[in-house]
């Protein structure tokens, strides 16, 4: 399993390097390996299917344009691409100013805590650790952090979704993030 995961990471890394050299066939390989994941991100944050598709197209244009600046010393290829997708989807979402900040209810976000991450592109141990650390947090703090991360919600949007004052939500998230850091840097 781990070997297969490592092979996939290496294949994606190699394909991205060829994209940087303007290899269009390599972009197709990258697309085949990553489009389901990036589409999942865009859809979760944009909610609107058509918008998610438009954002996703633009994400691959950015990947094409920016592959030369990918630094494997800072992030894995899939994490670099996921970040581009998430940022693009958040930018779109913020430009729309939804009246209803959370069309799908918070239960969907909470469900993320039990989701079985299907992708095996990241290392299993590293992945398990941050999920375990999130589970250590007080449930409201973890929920607020998940809503911010997975749905790309801002503080006021999370506050509205959780029906709490913005200050309370800020406090939950800030303290939760510092606890998360403490947990992740703790000796095991």
């Amino acid at each position: 399993m781990i070997e297969a995961s490592d092979a996939r990471r290496a294949a994606l890394h190699d394909a991205l390097a060829r994209v940087a050299a303007r290899d269009r066939a390599a972009l197709r390989e990258v697309y085949a390996m990553t489009s389901a994941k990036l589409h999942g991100i865009c859809l979760r944050i944009c909610i609107d299917r058509g918008a998610a598709e438009d954002v996703l197209q633009n994400v691959y244009l950015k990947v094409w344009q920016r592959a030369g600046s990918f630094d494997p010393g800072k992030a894995s290829a899939i994490a670099w691409m996921c970040a581009i997708a998430r940022n693009a989807a958040i930018d779109w979402r913020r430009s729309q100013r939804y009246d209803d900040p959370l069309p799908s209810d918070l239960a969907d976000t909470l469900a993320d805590s039990t989701a079985d991450p299907s992708a095996d592109l990241e290392q299993a141990g590293e992945r398990a650790r941050i999920f375990a650390c999130l589970d250590e947090l007080e449930p409201v703090r973890a929920s607020a952090i998940r809503a911010g991360f997975y749905q790309g919600l801002s503080y006021p949007e999370i506050a509205e979704a959780m029906d709490k004052p913005v200050g309370t939500v800020k406090s939950w998230i800030r303290r939760g993030l510092m606890q998360l850091k403490e947990c992740l840097t703790r000796e095991h």
Partner: protein, 239 residues
């Protein structure tokens, strides 16, 4: 007791990495990233820390045909400026539904084409050995530089987009295979800057070289080397 603890830099870095900040708060955090290398590193650390969370996004198969549309977007990027705009409207009508995003998407798609002067003939295929381009980006979301060098004129045209307001000035350098940065010049904070590449530096215009951007004090401490960390980078590509 306040429920809103004092925002220290660590917290601010985490909030920026999470994408929680908006408007002025986000702009000032991005400025801090440009001005303070320690803060930029803290943001990067937080991004790396949170990255495993991406695994929990569910995979959703992308619609059929999307790859063809992406190909069309990339093709449009390479079209000459006089014909790109109308082609964009025909080829991607749905993108115009989303006004704000559409504008930025098309701006991104046209970036390469737009740095070209309108009256300059544009090579459309990857056959000309005399033109090199680079896209520079980095940890500042939205900051994108596009550079195009033509050996015929020995000029580099550099378009800057998404540069936050800072006390420092954007400075462009070329880093050849020897790893030693050479100064190309100061950039305008937006729009296109035209740089006459010094004769001694022209030999470095090749795919082994990177362009990097640093944010320097108004008076450059040393014109022979950057004094600030790299905030955007990209490799030169011949087209």
């Amino acid at each position: 007791m306040s429920t809103d603890p004092v925002t220290d830099r660590e917290t601010l870095a985490a909030e920026l990495a999470m994408g929680l900040l908006e408007g002025q708060d986000r702009a000032s955090a991005l400025r801090l990233m440009l001005a303070d290398a320690d803060f930029a590193r803290t943001v990067e650390t937080w991004r790396a820390r949170l990255a495993p969370l991406y695994d929990a996004y569910p995979d959703v198969t992308a619609p059929e045909g999307l790859l063809r549309q992406i190909d069309a977007l990339i093709d449009a990027e390479a079209e000459p400026v006089s014909t790109v705009a109308p082609m964009q409207r025909r080829a991607r009508p749905s993108i115009w539904k989303i006004t704000t995003f559409g504008a930025s998407a098309v701006a991104a798609a046209l970036t390469l084409a737009l740095v070209l002067p309108r009256n300059t003939p544009v090579p459309q295929t990857a056959t000309s050995p005399d033109v090199a381009v680079a896209q520079l980006s980095g940890p500042i979301d939205g900051l994108l530089l596009t550079a195009r060098y033509a050996s015929e004129t020995a000029e580099m045209l550099v378009r800057v987009e998404g540069m936050p307001v800072t006390d420092t000035e954007p400075e462009l350098w070329i880093v050849p295979a020897d790893g030693q940065p050479r100064r190309l010049g100061r950039l305008l904070r937006g729009g296109v800057t035209r740089i006459a590449v010094p004769e001694g530096h022209r030999q470095f215009i090749d795919p082994a070289s990177q362009l990097i951007l640093t944010m320097e004090p108004k008076v450059l401490p040393d014109p022979n080397r950057p004094s600030a960390p790299t905030v955007a980078q990209g490799r030169l590509q011949r087209i």
